[in-house]
Subunit: 309 residues, 2 copies
């Protein structure tokens, strides 16, 4: 197998985007502050911005079943970047977009990627967006990721966001803002694990503006070590709509979790539900697995793995 | 039946405290900014404060099955008062305290009662505290009630707060702060109905400081007309503890409801759950009652009545 970039970058690239080779179709691979490989396809244009860092991803109306890969790798300690990516998803199209950012930091410098992603989904467009965040490296430089995701759903549009942060990110403040027109739907699945001194802030702001719009925000997280997690989820029901927000958190060691949902009904036909549960792994679950021969640590690891799967 | 105060005040008194005659045992009846009738009992002292408006209620250790009535009536439009009541509940006692404030406002002046109630429950003391708020009158003067309730629970203490606001209060901002020592327990049941241009703010701040402390905060509310409700509930789990917060709201007409729970686990053995649901009365419920011969209005009224019972 030939290298996509080089050995270190390729490993990180595979972890955050699943890529083992240069992908087919539309993609943009960004390494250490520069786009290094880029390709458009017949239906999906990727155009570098002229006025600032970032790209426009333009999906033609009716495009179905295609995938866009836009991974980012930082392996020079000290790289800090702010990138703007705008996604224009044409009417009636249905695409998978795989983003993700991995940092390999062997140095002592703050290494940081802040991505501002704006999605404009035209009528009846459908997007599944997967974003993985990952850090590694032997240095003591911090790995920081602060993404902002703006979602604009027109009539009948559907978007599913799947965000995963499993390891190695010292600090993250992730903000997702969404406005939904009539009959549109947003599904968010967040999975988060923090450890050591890591801090993670999650902010969702969802405006259910259109009739029959709906949002389902689900967060599952594990706070280990001395890590801290803050979960803020604002859902405003401004029309006949359905909103659901759910935050399940497991705390271990000296983990800290704060959950502050905020649901507001501005319309008599808004139906809003929030649920949050914070606690440690139930004793019975551990005992059951230990009775099958697992050590306490193995049992805990197994339960966490299942919870975040 | 002889009057307690006079005809108008007696009617309001009965609504907020259930009293039809001067009660037996310990009581303090406050009318238009002054204590007008007061009685201590063998085990329960009621002492007027010297330095400010209000009373100290001192329950002797081991007092069981006694009731304290401390209702407040305002029927002079324009009366505004700030009252401090402190409750010292002796070790191992078990008492019922019935408070409540009713305003009869036939005038055009703001009429306002702000009560600051502080409860100090000694070890294994138990209190049920019932507080009813009510307003009426033909004037256009506003009826305002802003109570602050501070609860301090020592080891093994138990307190149940039942607060009810059904009618006629134009504006209310109710704050309840509680700190819980080991093995103590707090139960809060709030029932709230707003209508017209009324506004109601509820704030709960609960610190679960002691091992095996627990809190269960339940709010049921109905927002009719153009009324607005804000529900803020903060529960901090600072030890091995269990916290549960639940907010169920029905919206009707142009009602507005905002619910912002805030649960924080500062301890690995803290178990915290929050649930909130906001929506209108389910269609099936209405149809079922309408099929039994009720009009839509009657069916709605029946459902609201059951929900707030």
């Amino acid at each position: 197998m030939s290298n996509i970039i080089d050995q270190v970058a390729d490993k990180v690239l595979e972890i955050v985007s699943g890529l083992k080779e240069t992908p087919k179709g539309a993609f943009n691979i960004r390494v250490n502050g520069k786009g290094v490989k880029k390709s458009s396809s017949k239906n999906i244009q990727i155009v570098s911005k002229k006025d600032k860092e970032g790209i426009d991803i333009i999906v033609a109306p009716g495009t179905k079943g295609e995938t866009v890969h836009i991974p980012v790798v930082l392996d020079h300690s000290g790289t800090q970047e702010l990138v703007y990516n705008d996604f224009y998803i044409g009417e009636g199209s249905d695409v998978l977009i795989v983003a993700g950012c991995g940092i390999h930091n062997d140095g002592s410098h703050l290494t940081q990627h802040d991505g501002i992603h704006s999605f404009y989904l035209d009528e009846n467009a459908s997007v599944k967006y997967v974003e993985k965040h990952y850090g590694e490296g032997t240095g003591d430089g911090k790995n920081v990721l602060n993404p902002i995701t703006n979602v604009h759903l027109k009539k009948g549009a559907f978007m599913e966001l799947e965000t995963v942060q499993i390891e190695g990110v010292d600090s993250t403040d992730r903000e997702t803002n969404a406005t939904l027109a009539e009959d549109s739907k947003l599904v968010v699945k967040e999975k988060l694990l923090t450890n050591g001194k890591q801090e993670a802030i999650t902010r969702f702001n969802v405006d259910l503006d259109g009739e029959n719009s709906s949002a389902n925000v689900m967060s599952r997280s594990v706070a280990k070590g001395d890590s801290k997690q803050y979960f803020y989820s604002v859902i405003n029901g401004n029309n006949k709509c359905a909103g659901h927000s759910e935050c399940d958190a497991i705390i271990m060691d000296n983990g800290f979790v704060k959950a502050v949902p905020d649901v507001t009904a501005n319309h008599v036909d808004a139906s809003l539900i929030h649920e949050a549960a914070i606690g440690k792994i139930a004793g019975e679950q551990l005992i059951k697995l230990e009775s099958l021969g697992l050590s306490e640590e193995e049992a805990e690891a197994r339960i966490v793995e299942g919870f975040l799967r």
